[in-house]
Amino acid sequence: MKRLLFFILTAACSVIFVYALWRDTDRDWTRYQHQFVKTLEPANRKLVSGGIKQVIVDDLKRVDRCTTCHVAIDKPQLALGEEPFKAHPGKYLQWHPVEKFACTVCHGGQGIATETLAAHGDVKHWEEPLLRGQLVQSSCASCHGDVQAIQEHVPLLVRGKQLFQEKGCYGCHVIKDFGGQLSVELTQVGSKPYQLIHADFEMMPHPHDRIHWIEAKLRAPRLLNPGVRQDQLPPGEEEVFPTAMPHFGLADDEVKALQVYLLSLRDFDPPTSYVTPAKPEPAPVYATAVDRGRAVFQRFGCVGCHNVDGVGGRHNWNAGLGEEVPSLMYVKMYYSEDELRTLIHNGRQPAYRGRVHRPVPPVFMPAWKDKINEEDVDALIAYLYSLYDKVLQSSTDGPAAVAASADVAVQ
């Protein structure tokens, strides 16, 4: 009996150990390498060697084993038409030699891993999933300070940066010390730890990664942050507001572009030898004060709340009646220049609201005193006053047309 048990247990031990050894040797990469070598001419087989391959780049702190499976990535003459045996498209590898840049610096993923899912970063606890398709453009900005210079390669990145300004995101979000501070700073949103996004993840479908989170947030901010109503809370708790971020109604390509831009904002500091510094932007020249004011209105993100050309209508919890941000088209009628200047300088503190019983909301007109310089404020006032002149001009079309154009802008 004991003898039998002894033999059974010993046999079990050996079988399990052999199985573990077999499973350890039968990896994704061994299979891919076999598959690849079989397709080669016997003469060519010497060109590739087996085993785990790795590119070590100390400067960037990378150990990338991607070439273990992607065997032909830098050997176009051996490459096949299907993954993982394709060659790298374009001339990018000539510009960015693998030995100097490795792979994950641009493409994301877990370079050190040797299993497909883990290497592509599609596993728990790896927060840099592969930047698939056009998303890879977001990596270029890590080193290329002057994105305009490479714009034919990174159209989405350029467009995203432009959109960020056009849509007035700077009104609430800071990037590199520029912008309003009403909301979260976005300087490193492209490498934001998942731990800080967990609450949002709960409101969106899988996969729960930064890429999809940014997309979901851009498409429908309120779906991720619907707030907590009073009746869902224990007595005595204050209501939690839904996000104050307006619904911008972005088109698919706009979402993609903004996604690429936001993903490019990372906590990553490559050594200076890798970096091409940004050129200082030439000081723009404006024909009139109104033009300059319009640019200021644009640049500081006033459009984020007050909408394009100040037609108003964005949803805001704090705005007096109707919870909408006031239009600026009629400021000339209500404010003297000094009053307007004070208002821009000091912003508004939440004082009253349409529905009194609700708590103080998070969003209100911020103070711009030390952010917009005085000449720009002058220009801004000139621009805001010009809006009323426009109303007067178009009043020949009747006020309905103005309202209609505002509606279009809202949508």
Partner: protein
């Protein structure tokens, strides 16, 4: 096919060579003589006696738990040494080395799994071994000291496991260790955040600093834990292990009667089979489940919840009910001291070498299994052990973000907000509560009883005892309920007052029944006082006999430990049912109970 006689011939020749004879001192035929020679002729086996009582090696007596613990320790040394080839205790590369083990080293991940799971198994095996030794009374004379050594070994096993936890340098490791280090910072007197802090204690010289080797967890901590894990603690553990084994032999086995059998092959074969069985379990476990590895350690991103290693989760769960210096320092100290004290305060000679005999205890219509021979010792110890594991279970499976309660099948939500409003009992009530609680332990010595009987009649002692315990019951009950009613202003509206279940219920009564409600509350105070008093009266006789049996010193230690353990339970009830945060606070000393 070779000629069998030829093989036999070669065998004979080999056995005659000097080399063979110099290594193997005896031949291997199964004779009584060689059975003995195998044991005392072998350095590893001679720790065993040559012959042993048959009953002492019954599998259902020991379950081989001590041997299994030792085997797991050996296994951990072997896998640990192999892992050391690949691991550098330096924060810039430690995490990467673990990834390398997983992805590039042959069987590296498997090796790490084995080390990790073997460590967990060892903790379990050691704890179960302790429970077994307690239940079979194997710590009783002459083996009291060996039990103390065993408790030290348990502590060292836990510490060994805990120091190893940091080494992968991932988020799990960092924050589990942070929880532990934070408890050190809350030590009384020596911790920078603890009560009664000594005047010279700062963050740069307190207990936490000593533990993590700095004010933050960084490379210094990693090398410290590495050395402790790979060198210092294993060394100490081996030393004490040697003492532990040697004392088993010297103090002789607790079951040392009845027919004896040869250790070879009877015991050795069992040990081998147990080791094999554990190996199979461990191999399967390591194949099926990978050791966890989260993202690289980041001091700026705190996981929510941050959990300590599972064997400390019971203590972390107690953090809900107690300040860190109690849950993290005082209670573990009392647990360890209490465990060590067991053989010296349990002087009952019964139950030596047998599992407790179970009888039935009738409580009204239901009968529950109850130990007949050492009812008090067994039930108290098992209550403690059960509490330990229940708290671990709660901490592991029932606690989610913000340490909120989630059932194991519930999905965690970082959006859920629920709070129980808490209140502190005013110190005067808290003192009354604790005083009455501990006063229940006061014995009624026989001499005093006799004196009273002589002076005031036959019934006087029983009457006085009943009055005393009933009085204490009412004091406890009043000390809890009175502040709940007076401090809460029940009429102010539920939204503003306390939302613990008890207060909500009382509020409901007052609100629906008016003055009747107050009457009901009064009745509740009376009934609960009566109940508590009744429990006291029930135990009065046992308490007095225990006092006569143990004498004052042992009695005080035993009863203090027991009351502290029950006090932990009591505080949990106070918190969950009555929303009481502290029963006694001295804010200026950062001293809260």
């Amino acid at each position: 096919m070779a000629n069998p006689s030829l093989i036999a011939n070669v065998k004979q020749q080999v056995k005659k060579t000097k080399v063979w004879k110099s290594i193997f001192r005896h031949d291997f035929s199964d004779t009584p003589r060689t059975r003995l020679q195998r044991i005392f002729g072998n350095v590893f086996l001679h720790l065993h006696p040559v012959r042993i009582a048959k009953d002492a090696i019954r599998i259902t007596y020991t379950w081989g738990l001590g041997g299994i613990s030792f085997y797991l320790f050996l296994l951990l040394i072997v896998t640990g040494i192999l892992l050391m080839f690949y691991y550098r205790p330096f924060s810039a590369v430690a995490y990467q080395d673990i990834k390398d083990l997983t992805y590039a080293v042959t069987l590296g991940g498997f090796l790490r799994n084995m080390h990790r799971w073997a460590a967990h198994l060892m903790v379990i095996a050691v704890i179960l071994h302790m429970i077994r030794v307690f239940l079979t009374g194997a710590y009783k004379p002459p083996r009291e000291y060996n039990w103390v050594v065993g408790v030290l070994l348990l502590v060292m096993t836990l510490f060994l496991s805990y120091t190893g936890y940091l080494l992968p340098w991932d988020q799990l490791a960092l924050w589990a260790v942070t929880v532990g280090a934070q408890m050190a910072a809350n030590s009384p007197m020596l911790g920078n955040e603890g009560p009664f802090k000594l005047p010279f204690i700062t963050t740069a010289n307190d207990a936490r600093f000593v533990m993590v080797g700095g004010t933050t967890i960084n490379d210094a901590t990693l090398i410290r834990f590495y050395v402790l894990h790979c060198m210092a603690v294993p060394f100490l553990l081996t030393l004490f292990l040697v003492v532990h084994f040697w004392r088993v032999r010297k103090d002789s086995f607790s079951v040392n009667t009845g027919p004896k059998v040869d250790v070879w092959p009877n015991l050795v074969s069992r040990e081998l089979l147990a080791a094999l069985l554990i190996t199979v379990v461990l191999l399967v476990w390591s194949l099926a489940l990978n050791a966890p590895l989260e993202g690289v350690a980041n001091l700026n991103v705190t996981p929510n919840p941050s959990k300590a290693p599972w064997y400390f989760l019971g203590l972390q769960e107690l953090l809900v009910y107690f300040d860190p210096w109690i849950a993290g320092v005082l209670l573990p100290t009392f647990i360890v001291i209490g465990l060590m004290a067991i053989p010296y305060i349990d002087i009952n000679p019964k139950g030596l070498g047998v599992w407790p005999k179970m009888g039935k205890l009738k409580v009204g219509p239901i009968s529950i299994p109850w130990p007949t021979e050492r009812p008090f010792a067994v039930s108290v110890f098992m209550l403690g052990a059960t509490m330990w594991f229940v708290l671990i279970f709660i901490g592991s499976f029932c606690r989610g973000p913000n340490w909120e309660w989630y059932w194991p099948w519930e999905v965690w939500s970082h959006r859920r907000i629920s709070k129980m409003t808490l209140l502190n009992l005013p110190n005067i009530y808290g003192l009354a509560l604790m005083g009455a609680y501990f006063a229940q332990a006061l014995p009624f010595p026989k001499a005093a009883k006799d004196m009273l009987r002589a002076k005031a009649g036959e019934k006087a002692p029983a009457f006085l005892s009943a009055a005393f315990h009933m009085g204490l019951g009412f004091v406890i009950s009043a000390a809890i309920f009175v502040p709940l009613v007076t401090e809460q202003k029940l009429f102010e509206g539920l939204g503003r007052s306390h939302n613990s279940p008890a207060v909500q219920a009382m509020y409901g009564w007052v609100h629906t029944m008016g003055p009747m409600g107050y009457g009901l509350i009064g009745a509740l105070v009376l009934v609960s006082g009566l109940l508590l008093g009744w429990v006291g009266v029930q135990f009065a006789k046992f308490k007095d006999s225990l006092y006569e049996e143990l004498g004052p010193i042992k009695y005080v230690i035993a009863v203090a430990l027991l009351l502290l353990m029950m006090g932990v339970l009591g505080k949990i009830v106070l918190r969950l049912l009555f929303g009481v945060k502290y029963v006694f606070t001295l804010p200026m000393f950062n001293f809260n109970i």
